[in-house]
């Protein structure tokens, strides 16, 4: 607890500073609420409008987590497959890149036709957003395996599976976490976008409605919700990373000290 406070005060103070600047700028230039509300107005709305949006948050969280879980699983599985079957890799790597260039607005009608208006098409959108950074980072991680260690594994007769799980996988973990963090950052946004595909609930819906009735302060409440969710999510992934890669941290201590 104490250490979170100790490490957290810096970013928090920067954030506070930004908010104060924003508040001051808003008041000095007298920017109208509908254009850009100041933080205190957003805060007001966040307090008073709690019942308006509380239901939406849970829905978005559920969607994000489902999409992220499936997305990173797909990302990892694809990376592992492509890495262990180099022929597949040559053939399918370009398809991965293509998958990132199908505009959602085009995909949306197809997804709706095929899967209706339920959860599935939304999860697919999040998966599409999440899996790519994981796959690319993981593949690059696998490729950079230390040669001396690979040498040793091969000489002692480790099977491909053993080489993979005992060497390439742990060695790629830092890179994988890099991908997981990027994907995590995108996943909340992905969920919000996917809610535009038609959804009864969710921060995305709350935001579009607020936006279409010119309630800019509510739009900003939505943005802050999205940001808080993303940061929390990122922090959780970073904590897991720290825990999984603790050997690295211990290494760092003795050298940077």
């Amino acid at each position: 607890m104490k250490s979170i406070l100790q490490r957290g005060w810096r970013p928090l103070s920067v954030l506070l500073l930004l908010l104060i600047l924003w508040e001051m700028a808003g008041r000095i230039f007298d920017i109208p609420v509908w254009l850009l509300p100041v933080p205190s107005q957003v805060w007001q709305e966040a307090i008073h409008g709690w019942m308006h949006y509380s239901g939406h948050i849970l829905s978005t969280i559920r969607l994000t987590l489902t999409g992220y879980a499936i997305g990173i699983s797909v990302g990892l599985v694809v990376a592992i497959f492509l890495f262990r079957l180099p022929m597949l890799q040559e053939a399918f790597y370009p398809l991965l890149i293509l998958s990132q260039n199908i505009p959602i607005i085009v995909l949306a009608p197809l997804l709706v036709i095929w899967f209706g208006f339920g959860m599935l098409p939304k999860v697919i959108v999040i998966v599409l957003v999440c899996f790519f950074p994981v796959t690319i980072a993981t593949l690059d991680g696998f490729r950079q395996t230390d040669k001396d260690l690979l040498h040793y594994m091969k000489m002692t007769g480790a099977s491909n599976k053993q080489v993979f799980w005992k060497l390439q996988w742990p060695h790629a973990l830092p890179a994988i976490f890099s991908g997981l963090k990027i994907a995590g950052t995108y996943s909340v946004m992905g969920a919000v976008i996917s809610e535009w595909l038609g959804s009864g609930k969710g921060i995305g819906v709350y935001m579009t409605l607020a936006s279409s009735s010119f309630k800019t302060d509510r739009v900003f409440v939505a943005i802050f919700l999205i940001m808080i969710l993303s940061l929390t999510f990122f922090a959780i992934i970073a904590l897991i990373e720290k825990w999984v890669l603790k050997w690295q941290r211990q290494g760092g201590n003795s050298l940077n000290g």
């Binding site: 609420v33 949306a108 009608p109 709706v112 038609g198 819906v205 279409s212 010119f214």
Partner: protein, 311 residues
Amino acid sequence: TTEKSKETEQDGKLEKVQFVLDWTPNTNHTGLYIAKEQGFFEEEGLDVDIMLPGEAGADQLVAAGKAQFGISAQESITEARVQDIPIVSISTILQHNTSGFASLKKDGIESPKDYEGKTYGGWGAPVEEAIISSLMEPENADVKKVEFINMGNSDFFTALERDIDFAWIYYAWTGVEAELRGIDLNMQYLNDYTKKLDYYTPVFITNEKMISENPETVRAFVKAISRGYEFAIDKPDEAAAIFSKAVPDLDEELVKASQQWISPKYKEDADQWGEQKLEVWKDYADWMNENSLLEGEFIPEDAFTNEFLPK
């Protein structure tokens, strides 16, 4: 045109004007494009730049003065003005609301009472339920028996393929496209059922500052678009051709058919193209208030003006 360009060179500078559409170009905008292509703006000393709003939407851009003019609709303006967004309607494009609820003919939805037990695809705004309720109530049908699904950005035809029975469309564009595709639709226009919902959509807007500080520019602008729409009323086919040439990426056939459908509707029963009536603004706001959809005071007199229409 050679004459005009000479003229331009002579007095040198045209006033630069930024214009934002409500969404992508469609035949609602014909008069605007004709005014530009036929040099009506130039004759008024204006150089109009037409922008797509993208995700942004025109209202705030116009309100903030980033664009001097734009296209919006009475529903938006009503809600916007309640939030103190200083936009004003300066002329309506169509005299009557051409939107309505469309469904496939084979589904047999003949009147609002048939909505019971059907699925409506919308975007989840409270106003939708209120409108459907307003249509159904007189027929003693219960809006609670309609299933609402949020279909987000999906287009009408896609939505009908799946899960959705009826949706809210502008006939001039989507309805005409259905005709072209040979899809038979049933249509319930809002204004066939309650007069209060016969609001102006779409309309040209500017901001209050323009009106108070540059009334001459506003006047010149409205004059030019008036001429544009008059042109479209008189010569629909020629107008469609000019419009298609200006926006070649649109489907020519659709533009032509849509133009034929919409041209008579620009002016219809009014004395003059673009004229707006106070009661229309009042009625819709009243209806909104009845359904407690407005949070704030709306002054219909301030929301529009006929002052700039050519005399």
